[in-house]
Each structure stands twice: as C-alpha cells, then as structure tokens.
C-alpha cells in the first residue's frame, strides 16, 4: 500500500470505522451510566429545583469563589487547554469541511493564522498541565497510567495536526496520515477512558445542581 493509498484509507474507511466505534461507544457508555437511574427525592423541596441543574452546568465553567488563587495553574492552563482545543477542533476551516461532508452542517471558520496561534497556546497549556501533574503532590498522588495515557492521546493529534499544516518534521502526507490515525485512536478510546468526562461532566453538574437546587442552594 502506497502512502497515498494509506492516507485515502485512513480518511475514508478508517475514519468511518472510527466514527462508528466512537458513536457506538458513546451510546453504550451513556446507557451503562445513566440507565442506573436514581431514587426520587421524597423530602419537601425548599425551592423547585427548576433550572438549577442547567445553572450548575454553566457555573462550573468558572472557578468557585476563592478557588482561583489556590490552584491557578489548573484553572488557567486547564481553561486555556479546553477552550483552545474546542477552537482548533471546531473552528479550523479544513475540520469544518470534514464536518460538512459528514453531517451536511457547516459554519464559518476562523483565520488559519489565528488557529495556528491557538494551537501553539493550547500545546503549551497542555505541557504546563503535564509538568504540573508530575510536580503537584496531589495530582502526582492521584495519577494513574490512564492519566498519562489520555494526556498523550489528546496531545498527539493536536501536535501532529499542527506539524502537518506547518509541513514540519515529516512529509505532509505522512504527517497528515499520522494525525488522522491519532484522531481515530482518540475517537475509539474516548468513551472508555476518563476522556468520557467530555460527556458525563454535563450530567454530573446537572445532578449536583438539581439535588442542591432542591435544597435551595445554588452550587
């Protein structure tokens, strides 16, 4: 198989398989988690829980009162990394083209220079978070193989994507192939690793927010 044939397979059949596994994985995991259900709360509510779950989904994007000075690296580098990654994944014109071909939906992208800069900032933020995980006693204590593995699983697609656009290190086709393959690996493994928090964090915030909203506490 020539390099071109490999690239064609990776962006065609390979991608379809990865997306299929990703969707099946996400569905399976969501069912595995949320079908467990929870008991109805029989205590008299202080206030109707209303939209408190949704409020918590929004509120937890920002640090809780007084917490930013206690963990600036986690909050700032973590925030930059999450926003940066979303911008690069969803606002880079070639990515939007791909989404369009898959779903028919498209939206205006951001200038490639801006994406270039965002990618560098995001990569740096990820490196900072890696160093912090090595040095911060709490993170070091909590970390398991999965934490290091999922860091690499997220970092490599970002790095190889940037390298391929910049035509660095490897020939463009080779780097692009590596990039797409690494994304496919990420897609397949995401539902089965801690990266699945990309989905469950919303559910968790909602549960916490609505349970406390029942008590009249905005969390």
């Amino acid at each position: 198989m020539s390099e071109m044939q490999l690239l064609t397979w990776v962006r065609g059949t390979g991608l379809n398989i990865a997306i299929g596994l990703f969707l099946a994985g996400v569905l399976w995991r969501l069912l595995e988690i949320y079908s467990l259900g929870r008991k109805k709360d029989l205590s008299a509510p202080r206030a109707a829980a209303g939209a408190s779950g949704w409020h918590t989904i929004l509120r937890r994007n920002l640090p809780a009162p007084g917490m930013l000075p206690k963990a600036p690296v986690t909050y700032i580098a973590g925030g930059i990394f999450h926003v940066g990654l979303a911008v690069v994944v969803f606002m880079f014109a070639p990515h939007i083209e791909l989404f369009k071909s898959l779903t028919g939906l498209s939206w205006p992208g951001l200038p490639s220079q801006f994406i270039h800069l965002t990618t560098i900032v995001t990569l740096v933020a990820m490196l900072v978070l890696l160093v912090d995980r090595i040095k911060n006693p709490v993170k070091k204590y909590l970390s398991t193989f999965e934490d290091w593995f999922t860091w690499a699983l997220t970092f490599i697609p970002l790095l190889t994507g940037w390298l391929s656009v910049q035509h660095l290190l490897l020939p463009y086709t080779t780097m692009l192939t590596v990039h797409i393959l690494s994304v496919e690996l990420l897609l397949v493994l995401l539902p089965f690793t801690k990266l699945f928090h990309a989905f469950t964090a919303f559910g968790s915030r909602w549960f916490n927010g609505s349970a406390n909203g029942h008590k009249g506490v905005a969390v």
């Binding site: 467990l36 029989l42 909050y75 968790s204 915030r205 008590k215």
Partner: protein
C-alpha cells in the same frame, strides 16, 4: 472473602446509582477538591484529597458496572476490594471527612463528592470498618435513645431546672401544638440554656410548642456512620412522635447533621413524604423575624462573627436568616473570610467529633478556623450548632485562643423585650 466484606461489597453495589456512576466517570484527577478540603489544606498530605476517600468504591464501580472494568477484573488488571484496603480507608472515609461539602461546591466537573462519601460509608459500616466511637454512638441512640446515652429522666430533670431558671413552663407531649421541638444530647447535657431560650422565644411569639417524650433526641448517628437501616429507626421515632402529637412543624435543634438527617434524608429513609414541616431553629427564628414576632431591645456591643454550620448553610440552604438575626441583636457583626456558602467546617461534623483516634488530625485541621478567627479578630463567635460549638471550643482551647462561642438562639432570646413593653 469474609462475611462482613461480602456484606459491605453488596451494600456498596446497592449504593451505586446514576449520579455516582456519572461522578466517577467525570473525575479527571485534577485534584482541585483537595484545595477545598481542610484536612488537605492544613496537613498537605495528598491522601486527604476528597475524591481519594472513595477510591475503593471507584474500583468496585468499574469492576461491577462497566464493560472495561469487568474485563480488567477478569484478566487480573484490577484487583478486588479486600478487607485490608477498607480498613486502611477507615481514616479517610471517617476521621478526615466531615461531609462538609466544600469539595462538592468546587469540583469543576460537578461531582458531589460528599454524596459519594456518604454512600461509601454505608459499605464501610456494613463491612465492619466504621470507627468505634461512631459505632458506640449509633448503638446508644438505637438502644438507649441518644448518642450520649441521655434518657428521658435526664431530660425531665433539665426541664425542671430550666423551668425554675426561666420561670416558664416546658411543655411535653402536648397534642396539637404548632411546633415540636427537638434537642441534641449536647444541648440536654451541656447547653440546657437552649431549652430556656426556646421557651422564652415561643412565649414571646405567642406560639404553642411541645417536647415529645418518645422523640426528644434529634441527632442521627446512623446518618454519620452510614447505616440507613439504623438511621431509619432513629428518624421513625421522630415521625411517629410528630404524627402522634399532630404538630405542624418539627424544629431541628442547633445541630447541623440532625437537620440534614431529618430535613433532607428523613422522608427518603422512611420511604414517604412527611406529613409535617421540618425547620431548623434558625429558619423558625428567621420566619418569626420576618413576621415581626420578635421584638428585641438593645444590642451586643462587642465584635461578633458567625460560624456557619456546613449542614445548615452549604448543604442546607439556610444562609441569609442567621445574618439578619445577627444584625437584629448585634451592632458590630463582622464576617469571616469565605463566610456563608463557602465557610470552612469546624472539623468535627459528620460524626468526626465522636472519633477519639481522629482528635489529633481534627486539631490539625482546625488551623483553618484559627486563621479565619485571627483575620476577623472578633471578641466572640456565634454559631447555630451545638456540635460546632463544642468542637470550636476544644480547638480554641488547644490553640490557647480566648474566644467565647455562643448560641444564636440564646443570644436572640436574651434580647427579647419583656412582656407588656
């Protein structure tokens, strides 16, 4: 697998619901919860990171409820939870957690870690890994009627004393009274003035009230140890008492966990909604204040601050009433840093104060309160939880700080205008 471990594992499996599963899947080991926990901030020991306190439960969840976890267990990549591990986790699940809920308030993915620890304790207790002090407290509550072993005759003796001191009757078993007043053993034995304050306030507000001879104790060690069966027995006494006397409202005393046990867990424990209302005494006072039923005179002149009991404020949703009451009777009320929703725990809630072997750690964690008190530099601290009060007094004595701790209810009662004014 020992019989107790088997039981513990079975109970733990029953505890796992969609929120717990969602929380475990959302945790990214970011460690932010550590920064919210006084047992970590004051010791610097990462083992006290809140999410680490439920680590055995996390593995059990993965092994029993997820495909990948089952495979890992099958091929030996994930070892089963054993006795030694749970024994090791006893200190983390009990001594170093007061269920204060600060971790739940800061977790960026939204995990309610306090809820998880509360559930984990059910398995710990079922597997025989609960601390002696709490086991004793629960047994005394179930067999004798109160965690400190206080029986009805002792309550009656205190009622007599209070009647003599305050010149007001202390009603017991009065059917049809509007309020049924609960007490904590701590109040019966150490702070009987609380009962006098209640008599004074009810008389002043023109409300009918009663104690109940079959349900005077509000604290619920079953909740603290994590044994819903025993917690249910304790709550049921109150429900039966309140329904027998046909009261409209049951007043939870100045005690944080008693409030959580009765207000939020009670109906769920007995499996049906209550036929009466449950209010913390601070809520009742706040309501009386709103209705203009509290006519006060004079102000406390010295500098006062307020310590928020976690179960009342962060976990209970009562944050403003205590502040309005403070302002009604004090002219120099100052807030501590992080007061209200994010207040720091006294270090003895959730049953922790009943654990003798946890004392050293508790005093270490108390440094956070010490710092808060030093910053605010008040003359006295007011609170609305008898357990906080005792724990604060112990900590203050240990660090040789001269800072009297007083009850909000008693302070309000002290300022009520005499009748006929």
């Amino acid at each position: 697998m020992s019989a107790s471990l088997e039981k513990g594992v079975r109970v733990l499996k029953e505890m796992i619901d969609a929120p717990i599963a969602s929380y475990f899947n959302s945790c990214v080991n970011c460690g932010l919860c550590a920064e919210a926990c006084l047992f970590y901030t004051e010791t610097g020991d990462p083992k006290y990171t809140p999410i680490n306190k439920v680590k055995p439960m996390r593995r059990l969840y993965e092994q029993e409820f997820t495909l990948t976890g089952r495979i890992k267990k099958l091929v030996g990549l994930s070892k089963p939870v054993d006795d030694a591990e749970l024994e090791e986790w006893k200190e983390l699940a009990y001594n170093s957690c007061t269920l204060c809920g600060r971790c739940s308030a800061v977790c960026p993915v939204g995990n309610d870690i306090s809820y998880m620890i509360r559930k984990f304790r059910e398995g710990m207790s079922a597997s025989g890994n609960a601390p002696e002090g709490l086991v004793g407290a629960v047994n005394r509550t179930v067999t004798i009627g109160s965690p400190m072993g206080v029986k009805l005759p002792a309550v009656k003796v205190q009622m007599k004393h209070v009647e003599n001191d305050f010149g007001l009757p202390i009603p017991m078993d009065v059917e049809g009274a509007e309020y049924m007043v609960m007490l904590s053993s701590m109040e019966i034995m150490n702070f009987p003035e609380y009962l006098g304050a209640i008599a004074k306030i009810m008389d002043h507000a023109g409300k009918t009230w009663t104690l109940c001879s079959t349900a005077f104790e509000a604290t619920n060690a079953g909740i603290q140890i994590g044994n819903s069966d025993l917690a249910r027995v304790i709550v049921s006494r109150i429900v039966e008492g309140a329904e027998k006397l046909k009261v409209k409202t049951v007043i939870s005393p100045e005690c944080g966990h008693a409030y959580t046990a009765l207000r939020w867990e009670g109906a769920n424990l007995i499996g049906r909604p209550f036929t009466f209302k449950v209010q913390h005494i601070v809520e009742v006072l706040g309501e009386f204040q709103e209705l203009g039923l509290l006519k006060t005179e004079g102000f406390e002149k010295d500098k006062l601050t307020f310590h928020d009991p976690c179960q009342l404020a962060r976990r209970g949703g009562v944050i403003e009433p205590q502040r309005k009451l403070m302002k009604m009777v004090s002219e120099n009320f100052v807030e501590m840093p992080d007061a209200g929703f994010m207040n720091w725990c006294c270090g003895g809630g959730g049953g922790a104060s009943a654990i003798e072997e946890g004392e050293e750690l508790r005093l270490e964690a108390f440094k956070v309160k010490k710092t808060q008190f030093e910053i605010v530099n008040a003359d006295r601290v007011v609170t609305a939880c008898a357990n906080c009060r005792i724990v604060l007094e112990e900590g203050l004595e240990h660090y040789k700080m001269d800072l009297p701790v007083v009850s909000l209810t008693e302070m309000v009662a002290d300022h009520l205008q005499a009748k006929g004014k």
